[in-house]
């Protein structure tokens, strides 16, 4: 059964949140989701661009109080 993991990367600067996401995806199973929380403004566009490049799926992106949540599903 697919799982969703949360990574709280708030406070980390570029490219820290992206690198934390990638490390988590390496260990995840296909279909699992990782929800990255980032206060780095670039993450909301960087993470979807990275997913489009390497072939993972962005499930949702949402802005909260001072941070963004980007949910990524491991697709390969």
């Amino acid at each position: 059964m697919a799982e969703r993991q949360k990574i709280d990367a708030r406070g980390a600067f570029c490219p820290g949140p992206l690198m934390e996401l990638i490390a988590a995806l390496k260990l995840a199973d296909i279909g699992d989701e990782v929800d990255v929380w980032s206060s780095d403004k670039g993450s909301a566009s960087d993470i979807p661009a990275w997913c489009a490049k390497v072939g993972h799926a962005v499930v949702e992106t949402s802005e909260h109080d001072g941070y963004w949540s980007v949910v990524v599903r491991k697709a390969k």
Partner: protein, 133 residues
């Protein structure tokens, strides 16, 4: 399908330029792009084995902010690029000769794939895109 390889020639010893090189190389490597980094001139000094971050990184407007805020360490970023992507790092053989250094004795552990001459790096770089920092 992999992208065209990226070749990074890092020659500056300034903190913010080493940081930029680490960001460019590591993000490209984890984006399915093969990366090769050639470290030469003053930049080699930042990779001396056993140095503390305070000794390793010098100069640039953002130097103090990098140190006091939660910015990823450049050496660690290079290491993540190698671990999570396809990335190789080479130390300039001329600089090593001048300093009487060897990669596996005098440079940061587990980062460099070996020494390399400039002609070989430039020849390899013809297959991709070359960025000099």
């Amino acid at each position: 399908m992999s992208s065209k390889p990226l070749y990074v020639m890092l020659c500056s010893g300034e903190h913010e330029k080493i940081q930029l090189a680490a960001m460019v190389a590591s993000v490209a490597a984890v984006s399915d792009r093969p990366v090769e980094v050639f470290v030469t001139m003053n930049a080699v000094l930042a990779f001396e084995r056993g140095k503390s971050p305070a000794e390793r990184y010098q100069g640039g407007h953002f130097h103090e902010m990098f140190k006091t805020q939660n910015v990823p360490d450049a050496i660690e970023l290079f290491g993540q690029g190698k671990m999570l992507g396809e990335m190789k790092m080479w130390a300039c053989s001329m600089v090593l000769d001048l300093k009487h250094w060897e990669c596996d004795k005098h440079l940061t552990e587990d980062l460099f794939d070996g020494p390399m001459g400039l002609a070989k790096f430039l020849a390899d770089a013809e297959t991709g895109e070359l960025v000099t920092i």
